[in-house]
Structure formats: structure tokens, C-alpha cells
């Protein structure tokens, strides 16, 4: 059985649930927006074994029956009425995340694996280990160091280090005149990388690439900037596709959204690996069968146990970019 966990109206979840239903796959939806009749019980033994069950509107599903999970856990939804409901909803998320981090089943994605995305320069070092170039980056509280960086690289952007309030902006004259503000908080600057944005969704060993053409600095906010973003399905060179699969696997992310840019001289630069990608936006524009591939992966045979090969990294839940 496949479990889907998250907001019942969240488009990436909706598409995956529909794909599972279309295939006639046994599945359970745990909808965080409809939890009045939802419970979870977990029991761990001395050897680390874990048992338990979801109970959804009277239907009890033992966790031993679950073979895979696609989870997009988000903040509990405030619910009027029973004051106990808020406590139960918060505990539902906490216990589900605990289970997702340790369950010996196929999980997309384990919360513990998402933590690398909480620090962009931290993740950049991991990305580079997989063979991608990353943007030249300076995080500094020294205005002179920033000016020297800007002088050396010409066009520079700045963005958050953690991903909170994450909007990419050009370091233009207006911001240069206010650089003294970095003394209060080290800020991340990057050399602007010219080229074409390619968003890649990795699902297991499958790769779906989308070219994004826009004049906006950050295509995610093109509309806000009064610009258009045109999405087109595209193909990657085999070696680059392999690198994407390797990187996602190294980060223990069976589903990952990679933000790449192909420079005019053919260098592939990776900006970020999104651990909870909003693939539905890209699927709806290009027709790429990402949700079907995701369900194929969830339904696939094979070991889905916890990886202990590297210190686990946890991350906050976040709305997909």
C-alpha cells in the first residue's frame, strides 16, 4: 500500500493520488486538511522495530502493510471546535515525520534528507561533490569585501542563505549604496551566471528537464516582476542526466527538483536541489509524466530502508517553489 500525506488539495499530491488511482494501486490518503477522524499510533521496541497504524475515518491501516509513502507534510491547519484537535494535528505531523525518517519503506522524501536545503552554500558544497559547477559565492558582513566581489564578477545577485525570504535580486546601484547594512547580518552574494534556466525533476533514475525562458532574474517570480516565463520540455546530455541522478541519490532524495543553468559556453551550473519540488507546475505546462513516474517509483519493488551512510539532515517543511 502507498500512503500519501499532506494537504489534500496540494497539486503535487493531487496528481500523484490520481496517478495511483488510475493504476488501481492500493493507497491511503492522509489529508492534513481533514483530520477530524485521523489518528496515528507508533510503537517502538527495544531493538528499534517499529509498528503502528493510521486510522482514517474508521479505517485502520497497519504500518506493516505500507510499502511506500509520498509525503508533503505542511503546517497543521487551524481547526475551530474541539480544542484537542490542534494538539492532535500537531502531534500527527510530528509522529508522521518521525515515522518517515525511520520507516523501512520507500519514502519520498525522508524529512531528515531535506536539511541540506536549509543552507544554500552548505548544499552548494554537496552539489559540487557530484560534479556540478556552482556559482561563485560570498557570504559577508564586510561591505568592502562585497564591493571587491562585485568589481571582480561584474553582475552580482544576492539572496538569502537559508532559503527563508528567498528572492533573488540584482545588486544594482541602489543596493550598492546601502551595503553598510550587511554589517548587521552576513548576506549571500553570487556572481550572476548567464544562460538558460533548466529545471530538472529527478524521480529515482528518471529525469525530466524543462527549459525556462524568461527575462526575470528569478523565474519563480517572473509574474511579480511583470515578466513572462515560457516552459518547454527539453533533453539533457546523457552525462548531465546521469550527474543529476547521482546528485539526487547522494542527497537521498528519490524526488528532487534541480535548478540548473546552461551557460553560453556549455557549462552546467547547479544552484539548488529542492527536496520537496512543486513538480505539478512543470507537468501542467509541459505534459511531462512526472506524477506517473513518481507513482511507478512508489510502486516499485526493492529496498526502501533508512540510509545511514551519512549524517542525516533534517529540514523544515515548506511550500514548493
Amino acid at each position: 500500500m502507498i500512503v500519501f500525506f499532506g494537504y489534500g488539495d496540494d497539486p503535487p499530491l493531487v496528481r500523484a493520488v490520481r496517478a495511483a488511482a488510475d493504476r488501481g494501486l492500493d493507497h491511503l490518503v492522509v489529508d492534513q486538511r481533514a483530520t477530524a477522524g485521523t489518528d496515528l499510533v507508533l510503537a517502538g521496541d527495544e531493538d528499534g522495530g517499529l509498528r503502528g497504524a493510521f486510522v482514517v475515518d474508521g479505517r485502520r491501516v497497519e504500518l506493516e502493510r505500507v510499502t511506500a509513502v509520498y509525503a508533503r507534510p505542511l503546517s497543521p491547519v487551524p481547526a475551530p471546535g474541539d480544542p484537542r484537535r490542534g494538539e492532535r494535528d500537531a502531534r500527527l505531523v510530528d509522529l508522521t515525520v518521525e515515522w518517515l525518517d525511520t520507516a523501512p519503506v520507500r519514502v519520498v522524501n525522508r524529512p531528515v534528507a531535506m536539511a541540506s536545503n536549509s543552507s544554500k552554500p552548505f548544499q552548494a558544497q554537496l552539489i559540487a561533490e557530484a560534479g556540478f559547477a556552482v556559482p561563485e559565492t560570498l557570504v559577508s558582513s564586510d561591505p568592502d569585501a562585497v564591493r571587491a566581489f562585485a568589481d571582480a564578477h561584474g553582475a552580482v545577485v544576492f539572496k538569502s542563505v537559508s532559503g527563508v525570504r528567498s528572492i533573488v535580486r540584482r545588486l544594482d546601484r541602489g543596493y550598492l549604496d546601502r551595503l553598510d547594512r550587511v554589517r548587521n547580518l552576513p548576506t549571500q552574494f553570487q556572481a550572476l551566471v548567464p544562460g538558460v534556466d533548466i529545471r530538472v525533476h529527478v524521480v529515482g533514475e528518471r529525469v525530466f528537464a524543462t527549459a525556462v525562458e524568461t527575462a526575470a532574474t528569478d523565474y519563480r517570480y517572473a509574474g511579480r516582476d511583470g515578466e513572462e516565463a515560457v516552459l518547454t520540455a527539453t533533453a539533457l546530455p546523457p552525462e548531465v542526466a546521469e550527474r543529476c541522478v547521482r546528485l539526487a541519490a547522494a542527497l537521498d532524495l528519490p524526488l528532487a527538483g534541480l535548478d540548473l543553468r546552461r551557460t553560453p559556453d556549455g557549462v552546467w551550473v547547479c544552484f539548488e536541489v529542492n527536496p520537496m519540488p512543486g513538480y505539478s507546475f512543470f507537468e501542467s505546462h509541459t505534459g511531462q509524466p512526472i506524477s506517473e513516474s513518481l507513482v511507478d517509483h512508489l510502486a516499485g519493488a526493492g529496498e526502501g530502508g533508512t540510509r545511514w551512510s551519512s549524517p542525516a539532515r533534517t529540514a523544515p517543511t515548506s511550500r514548493a517553489s
Binding site: 521496541d45 552554500p121 558544497q125 549524517p311
Partner: protein
């Protein structure tokens, strides 16, 4: 080519062994005082998290993923300038939990996240020259839940405390209570609060505890799984793991001596990541 960073002035102290801790962390202070000087005569330098938060930072990640960092804490009194240079560091033990940046209340949470993200990147760039490996969220070690720690302990062959938790207590086998409590969450490790004992592991070895024979192999395995050379385990009365903390309080002579020895054990070039 950008000049990486301004070189430290003559007379500046560029520590090889650095401990970062909250101002209230008396254990860190005591361990630094006890730690022997390294071969080059350099004693561990203790810097507070607040001092780092107010320091001058230049942290670079290059296109090939190499990182380099210079941190200049504000000078205090007549002491020498301190420049924390990633090239010079042989070992960093980051124990801080709290940092305050000079921003207004509306930006405090944001600034906390931003600075934490910088810290994890800096420490990750040092490779195995850190006592506890950071993850993307926590500079002092993995930001695991108690459940995850128990799972790791079990993987390392250390018994773990059984535990039942539920979103509604009525689902717990054998639970008895009234109708109101029946639909409140239950967690027997939180609600029943079993007596716990704290055991310090240094490089996986239990410190000062001859009553835990045979646990060294499990401790070493857990240290490897978690990337933590210093780890505090919470154990129940039967020695089963309840949880763990990468920033355990340090109390008692044997604990302080063990971590002091770790701080003083660095060898020039030991564990340094290739530039």
C-alpha cells in the same frame, strides 16, 4: 581573480583549535582551560556564539565547491587581534545553541536562520576538522529527533527504550482514562518521564562509566553514524537509549578531562581536507 581575503596583521592570533560556545557554557570553558596546548604551543581558543554573530565574516564557496572563510571577532580590550582562518584551523568544536544578531525584533527569527545557515556552511567546509559534523540545519551536529536517535542507536546495536506514542491516547493498548483524555495525544516517554541517566561518549567511548561494559563498539558505531565525536546519550535505568544530544552538558572531572584530551589531541595536518 579575486583576492581571497585580507591577510591577518602581524601579531594577530590565528587559532588552530577553536571552541564556540554560548556564554553560559561553563563546561566548554573548563574543558578549554584543561586542554593541553597542541604541538605548536597553541591552546584552544574559546569564542562565544554572540561574538561570532557580531564578527566580520567572509565565507566563500568557489565554483568547484571549495570553501574558505575568515572571521574577525571584535577585539576585546587590549588583547591581540583574533582572525579565525579556515586554512589555519585544525579542529573546531561548535557547541553554541543561541546567537543574537544586531537586528530589530521583526527580523530576529530571519537573522537567526540566516546566521545558522552560514555557520553550517562554514563548518561543512572544514571537512573532518570538526568535532561534530553539522547538518543543513544545525551547526553542532545532526538535528535529529529523539526517535531518529533511537533508531540510530538500534542500528548501532545499542538497546533502545520501548515507546508508544499516539495522536489519541485511546489507541494505546492498555490505556485507561476518561473520555476527554482519550482524544488527547499520548507519548509514554513524555508523559511517564522515565528516570534518565546521561552518558557521555567521546569518540564513541563511554566516559567514566565502568558499568557499561561492551558498549564501546556500539558507541563507536553510533559516533560514526551520527558524525559526532562528542555525544550525550540519555539512558533509562536499564541502559536503553531514550535520546541523545550532540551538545551535552559537561560535568565532572572525567568528562572534562576526556573532552580536553580530544581538544589537545590534534596533530598538524591531521584530518585536514585537501585545499
Amino acid at each position: 581573480m579575486v583576492t581571497d581575503r585580507t591577510r591577518p596583521g602581524p601579531g594577530a592570533r590565528t587559532p588552530a583549535v577553536l571552541v564556540v560556545a554560548d556564554p553560559s557554557d561553563g563546561g566548554a570553558r573548563a574543558a578549554c582551560r584543561l586542554a593541553p596546548a597542541a604541538g605548536d604551543g597553541d591552546r584552544p581558543l574559546l569564542v562565544s556564539t554572540d561574538a561570532l554573530a557580531r564578527a566580520g565574516w567572509e565565507h566563500r564557496v568557489h565554483a568547484d565547491g571549495r570553501s574558505s572563510t575568515t572571521v574577525r571577532p571584535a577585539r576585546s580590550g587590549a588583547g591581540p587581534e583574533v582572525v579565525i582562518d579556515s586554512d589555519r584551523l585544525r579542529l573546531v568544536w561548535f557547541r553554541g545553541r543561541h546567537w543574537r544578531l544586531p537586528v530589530g525584533p521583526a527580523d530576529a527569527d530571519y537573522a537567526w536562520s540566516e546566521f545558522g545557515a552560514l555557520l553550517v556552511s562554514w563548518l561543512a567546509g572544514l571537512g573532518d576538522r570538526v568535532v561534530n559534523r553539522p547538518d543543513g540545519q544545525r551547526p553542532s551536529g545532526p538535528s535529529w529527533s529523539a526517535a531518529r536517535w533511537r533508531a540510530a542507536a538500534a542500528e548501532a546495536s545499542w538497546p533502545v527504550a520501548p515507546r508508544t506514542a499516539a495522536t489519541s491516547a485511546r489507541l494505546v493498548p492498555g490505556w485507561r482514562g476518561g473520555p476527554w483524555q482519550a482524544r488527547l495525544p499520548h507519548d509514554d516517554l513524555l508523559d511517564d518521564r522515565p528516570t534518565s541517566v546521561r552518558l557521555l561518549l567521546v569518540d564513541g567511548v563511554p566516559v567514566g562509566s565502568p558499568s557499561w561494559p561492551g558498549r564501546t563498539a556500539a558507541g563507536r558505531r553510533l559516533a560514526a553514524l551520527s558524525g559526532c565525536r562528542v555525544l550525550g546519550l540519555d539512558l533509562d535505568a536499564r541502559g536503553r537509549v531514550l535520546g541523545a544530544d550532540p551538545v551535552p552538558p559537561l560535568t565532572g572531572r572525567s568528562e572534562l578531562a576526556a573532552v580536553a584530551a580530544l581538544l589537545g589531541s590534534t596533530r598538524p595536518g591531521a584530518g585536514e581536507r585537501a585545499a
